[in-house]
């Protein structure tokens, strides 16, 4: 079996002319590969192997892949952790995959319709919630809940990209003027309350947070979330204006390092901003977030580049 796989792997590689690699866009992974897999379980991609991610450790996955140099692609069935629950079982023999960041919507580049969702996970050794973080990263792509291709089956196919965030990766990312690891760190906290998280019970997750990440006792999470929803559109406008106008020479210099493609610009610019007050009231969530974000322009720069990086596969 193993030797057969090796021969097949070698055969596949030889069929490609030099310089060609499997670098699918998020949209291609969902619209072509995932849709075909859901329609026909026997569908096999030239570069995507079937694998049970619950029975494989991440370091075993590269040898099970059909193709790939620094990232590997798999089809996998995701089963529920409980018969009637909505949480997915992500444990392996030696550890578990933990979600990081927010789920990202993937759109059809021609029709702009939503085709699926992308989730980023990091592998932890040991048992939750005291696992040890590793450098193995997974992007999981699934159809969105209202897709016409979705069936009523409990088991659902997903397509995954697995890669190892190595020193070489860090060096590459650094020269691209962005920091993926920081991006993940920032989003770890946000993922607890992500609207894409199907978990309706917040408190059980919050109890697992380390002490310094516990919400302030006086805060009412439900009310705050509602307030966020109400003001989100307005805040987005304020943040755009705030960030663009607070850009100073050091930020402009940083921009010179940016080589990420931008397919379109849709900016809503405001006028000159007053300097936000250094001390703000905790009760006024909207004002606090606005003024805080205005002071953290540098972070915004980094964040945007992280997001761009995910969608771009430049030559190595």
């Amino acid at each position: 079996m193993e030797q057969g796989d090796h021969q097949q792997h070698k055969k596949e590689e030889e069929a490609l002319p030099p310089g060609f690699r499997f670098h699918p866009t998020d949209e291609e992974l969902i619209s072509y590969y995932l849709v075909n897999k859901i329609a026909d379980q026997n569908f096999t991609g030239k570069a995507i192997a079937d694998v049970d991610l619950n029975k494989s450790e991440p370091w075993e996955l590269p040898e099970k892949a059909k193709m790939g140099g620094k990232e590997w692609y798999f089809f996998s069935l995701r089963d529920r952790k409980y018969p009637t629950g909505v949480r997915t079982n992500r444990a392996t023999n030696t550890g578990y995959w933990k979600t990081t960041g927010k789920d990202k919507e993937i759109f059809n580049s021609t029709t702009s319709e939503l085709v699926g969702m992308k989730k980023t996970l990091v592998f932890y050794r040991g048992r939750a919630p005291r696992g040890e973080k590793t450098c193995w990263v997974m992007h999981e792509y699934r159809l969105h809940s209202k897709s016409s291709y979705r069936t009523s089956k409990q088991d659902e196919w997903v397509v995954c990209r697995v890669f190892k965030k190595t020193e070489a990766t860090k060096k590459y990312i650094s020269t691209s003027s962005s920091s993926t690891s920081h991006h993940h760190n920032n989003h770890t906290r946000a993922s607890i309350l992500s609207t894409n998280n199907n978990n309706p019970n917040y408190s059980s997750d919050l109890l697992q947070l380390p002490p310094h990440l516990q919400p302030h006792p006086s805060l009412n999470i439900n009310q705050s979330l509602m307030a966020n929803a109400v003001h989100l559109a307005e805040l987005s406008r304020v943040f755009r204006a705030s960030t663009s106008t607070t850009m100073d020479s050091s930020h402009q210099q940083l921009m010179n390092y940016t080589h990420m493609p931008v397919s379109g610009l849709n900016l809503n610019l405001g006028g000159a901003l007053v300097q936000p007050p250094p001390v703000v009231s905790l009760e006024d969530v909207a004002a606090v977030s606005a003024s805080y974000n205005g002071e953290n322009g540098f972070g915004n720069v980094e964040m945007s580049q992280c997001m761009d990086l995910d969608g771009y596969w430049p030559s190595y």
Binding site: P18, S179, H182, N186, P261, V288, Y292, G299, M307
Partner: protein
């Protein structure tokens, strides 16, 4: 924009993303030695006759970057400097040349930027070229009655903003959609509703617009979500933890 040759029928997701070594060893060396090329994806074209925004339409293959085999001419009959005039502008070198190959370099990679207009008053654009030439070639030898410096160099062309702008000025193109989506009424209403964040004055200068062009369009929404939630979870801790990006960023450079 991608055009696929008859021999290049791959399933979705397969792309030409070569390393520098692959470009030099498998494509440029073979081309210069008149040997067969592994795949018909690199167009033969004297790209110095054209502006870079016209080149994608002439390429055999490519989505965001396009590859060409091109000859190079001398600037002067007895010199070895290449003539960089092209179309309605010129290519200007940027950065250091990079040797390709180990232990002895086989090729040399040079990065160039396209400027519209006449030197030295050209206007910088976002079009970039990576030029690969053979390393061990005596370019002082001149053919009779010819300005030819290299029969073939391999060039990768791309726009660093990822869009193909047909006109000379990228800034001019970029400004228009931004202006169209800058309605004074809604901004004014926003200003009056958020006193702590914005000033009563509202101006929309070209300088500010130019700066704004550097930002991707959807960065703020994600950050808004992230910061709001971080605030809820972190309390006062957030001030210290989110200073990390500054430290990390400064360390990187």
């Amino acid at each position: 924009m991608m055009k696929s040759g008859a021999d290049l029928q791959f399933p979705p997701g397969f792309r030409f993303h070569p390393t520098d070594e692959e470009l030099v060893l498998m494509y440029l060396c073979r081309k210069c030695a008149s040997q067969p090329i592994p795949a018909p994806i690199i167009t033969e074209l004297d790209l110095y006759r054209y502006d870079p925004w016209d080149l994608p339409d002439m390429a055999l293959y490519g989505e965001k970057e396009w590859y060409f085999f091109s000859p190079r001419d001398r600037k002067y009959p007895n010199g070895s400097r290449p003539n960089r005039a092209a179309g309605t502008g010129y290519w200007k070198a940027t950065g250091a040349d990079k040797p390709i190959g180990r232990p002895k370099p086989v090729g040399i990679k040079k990065a160039l930027v396209f400027y519209s207009g006449k030197p030295p008053n050209g206007e910088k654009t976002n079009w970039i070229m990576h030029e690969y030439r053979l390393a061990d070639v005596d370019r002082s030898v001149r053919k009779k009655n010819s300005l030819r410096l290299d029969d073939w160099v391999l060039c990768r062309i791309y726009n660093k903003k990822g869009v193909i702008e047909k006109r000379r000025s990228d800034i001019e193109d970029g400004l228009k959609p931004v202006t169209d989506t800058c309605p004074p009424e809604s901004v004014a209403r926003l200003i009056s509703g958020s006193e702590q964040a914005v000033s009563p004055e509202f101006t929309c200068s070209n300088g500010r617009l130019s700066n704004a062009l550097d930002f991707p369009f959807n960065y703020v929404d994600a950050i808004a979500d992230n910061e709001i939630v971080s605030r809820l979870l972190g309390g006062n801790q957030m001030w210290s933890t989110t200073l990390d990006p500054l430290v990390v960023r400064q360390g990187t450079f």
